[in-house]
Each structure stands twice: as structure tokens, then as C-alpha cells.
Amino acid sequence: GAGVSQSPSNKVTEKGKDVELRCDPISGHTALYWYRQRLGQGLEFLIYFQGNSAPDKSGLPSDRFSAERTGESVSTLTIQRTQQEDSAVYLCASSTAGDLYEQYFGPGTRLTVT
């Protein structure tokens, strides 16, 4: 079946502009995660959605970052007033409910802030 998809695959934006990144999880997956991967580094957790529960926003680095999810489907990550340090690959993952299940990752969106 279809995996996690993300769009756009690449985004170049000027410093100070807002950007919106999209994630389509695997159908039926109730959990959705956003991570950030800076060049040469591991993944940093940003935010986690589980069903209709309040999201865990503990990983968001500043109030310029926000995310929404419509039900158990699409999620958008918004970065306002982008800064050069926001340049990274933004990865989305989804999983079924329960803590035994692995996360399936999308291909990521490479964001470059000039």
C-alpha cells in the first residue's frame, strides 16, 4: 500500500517568509510525528499527534513553529518568519495505535532558507 507522503520534496524560501509543509500518513495510522534532521545530525522530535488527543508539542523549538492535523489524516507543519537555522530536512512519520508499533517515515521535505 501507499506509504507516508510529504510535499513539497524541496522548498527554498527567503529569510522571513512563512512556509507550510504537508504530510499524508498511511491510511489508518492514528499517530503522526514530525521530526527535523539538520545536516549531519540525528533526528529531533518536534510534535506528536495521537487521534483526537491534544498534541504533544514539547519538541517545537520556538513559537514560530506550529502544526495541525485534521482528524486522523493530513498534517501541516507551519514555520513563520523563517530563519537560516530552520534549514533542515523535515520528516513526518506515522504509526498505528499502541506503543509496540514502529514508525513509518516519509521521504522528507528539504527546506533551505536563504
Partner: protein, 114 residues
């Protein structure tokens, strides 16, 4: 808070030789442990996980990992490396009973030399 260490940024091995990619972790309670692989310009792919039971876990593409509770390690192994195994490998941990985010190591670049 949990953490993961991958002490080697780079591992080189000759094709046909056994390979080991090291991972140690720190977590409160019992861990769920994961290995992911990232090929260039692609998202992370799940390789294997340890949840409970047998300490030797077998996964995709002939990889296996051994959970060692006393040494808090979860090293990834393969008996005979292939050039196509060359990629970036990430170890990740999540506390038992948590369906939340994974904590990732910084990654190990594996290069298999022909």
C-alpha cells in the same frame, strides 16, 4: 530523559566481511529499541525492533541486533556485508509504555568497500 549514543560516525568494512554498528542507550525502565536505515535522498526505513523476549532480533535485509541489558547496548550486525548496505544507520529508543516520539542517535555512516 532517554538518550542514545552511536559512538562511531563512520564504519568501513569490506564486502563479505561481518559488520557491526554500535548503539548504547539510556532510558528509565525497559526500552523499546529500533534500527532504521537511510539511503541518500530517501526517508528512514525500518530495519528491526526489540520489544521483549529473545535478545537476538532478526530484521530486514539479513540484519540482526542483539539486546544486552547489562551493557545497555543494541548493536546492529550482519554476517556478510554487501556494497548495497552502504547507508546511514540510526538507532532509536522509546520507553516501554510510551507511544510517543523516538529518541534517535546521531547516526553511523556505513561504507561497504568492494
Amino acid at each position: 530523559a532517554q538518550s542514545v549514543a552511536q559512538p562511531e560516525d563512520q564504519v568501513n568494512v569490506a564486502e563479505g566481511n561481518p559488520l557491526t554498528v554500535k548503539c548504547t542507550y539510556s532510558v528509565s525502565g525497559n526500552p523499546y529499541l529500533f534500527w532504521y536505515v537511510q539511503y541518500p535522498n530517501r526517508g528512514l526505513q525500518f530495519l528491526l525492533k526489540y520489544i521483549t523476549g529473545d535478545n537476538l532480533v532478526k530484521g530486514s535485509y539479513g540484519f540482526e541486533a542483539e539486546f544486552n541489558k547489562s551493557q545497555t547496548s543494541f548493536h546492529l550486525k550482519k554476517p556478510s556485508a554487501l556494497v548495497s548496505d552502504s547507508a546511514l544507520y540510526f538507532c532509536a529508543v522509546r520507553p516501554t509504555g510510551s507511544a510517543r516520539q523516538l529518541t534517535f542517535g546521531s547516526g553511523t555512516q556505513l561504507t561497504v568497500l568492494p
